[in-house]
């Protein structure tokens, strides 16, 4: 499948690597090309400098043919906006985004955006670890 990832941080780069190894076609976007150092040297996908909340950059990354879009920048609002553009403007079938703020995640989930909050997930995990 064709995947577009926005944000080449630790999570973005790692996800890109995992999907690439499995043979998926991956394009990863970041506003800073220095971030691409995180990609493994044998990464076979495309790395593009660009802003994921900009339609043109998304088109360059191949959003129009993408099966999946994942928004993983540090900014909740940027992720949410890009995810909505992917879903509602480009009709990407599967859109996932990260939202640190749990309340905001709840709201966007209810608006039909599949969002994960690392804050909630990690806090829950830690709690379970501590209780054991």
């Amino acid at each position: 499948m064709k995947v577009v990832i926005m944000g080449c941080g630790r999570v973005g780069a790692r996800l890109a690597g995992l999907l690439d190894i499995e043979g998926h076609s991956v394009a990863i976007l970041d506003t800073d090309d220095y971030s691409f150092r995180r990609l493994s040297p044998d990464f076979g996908g495309t790395a593009l400098v660009g802003n994921g909340v900009d339609e043109e950059s998304l088109k360059k990354a191949g959003i129009e043919e993408a099966d999946v879009f994942v928004a993983l920048t540090q900014g909740d609002n940027r992720n949410v906006m890009a995810a909505q553009i992917a879903k509602h403007i480009f009709n990407v079938p599967k859109v996932v985004c990260r939202i640190y703020d749990p309340l905001r995640r709840e709201l966007y989930n209810s608006l039909g955006i599949e969002a994960f909050s690392p804050t909630t997930i990690f806090a829950q995990m830690l709690k379970e670890k501590l209780e054991r």
Binding site: V53, E55, E56, N77, V80, M81, I89, R104, L107, L111
Partner: protein
Amino acid sequence: MYIIIVGGGKVGYYLARALLDEGHEILVVEKDADRSEFICGELGSVCTRGDGCEVATLTEAGTGRAEMFIAVTGDDEDNLVACQVAKHKFNVPRTIARISNPNNETIFKKLGIDVTVSSTNIILENIEEEVPTHPLTHLLNIRDKGLEIVEIKIPPHSTTVGKAVKELPLPQGSVLSLIIRSQQKPIVPTADTILQAEDQIIAATTPESEEALRTALRGF
């Protein structure tokens, strides 16, 4: 009317001041502590410190009873999210977002923001008017109808000078409304009106056929 403004920069500050003068109840939500303090110092206790995209902040701000919600931070994505939270979490009837990237106008509309104000476009339009050789000036957008009112000037050497309106390949959906000539009363053009050099033509058109209209009127 109770109005919440997100973003206490220059736009937010002057907007708050103007709306207060009109007698509205205003609350500015500003992230920066110093800025927030400054606004309270200048305008009275009308500013709270916080993130205008956060549900908690907006609950505290009494967003549920706001009749209008205006997001004017410098970041388009922040303005979008603030307005969406206000709309979907607090059912604010009217949300207005400032945008910097003109392309976002259609995106924001599609995502449910009631009104967008593009500062870039406004500045651009004002500058267009000041450039005398600019072939086409946007005068007004009729947003709901997808129409715009534009002004086109006929240059002296244009191939359309001396031609009648009915001879011009005007695009579908474009209507010539008015011709302004120097030292004459404005005239309403008919099919037989002959174009003259330096005519200023006011026309209604759509963004898509703007280019075709310009070519039809100016020739070449």
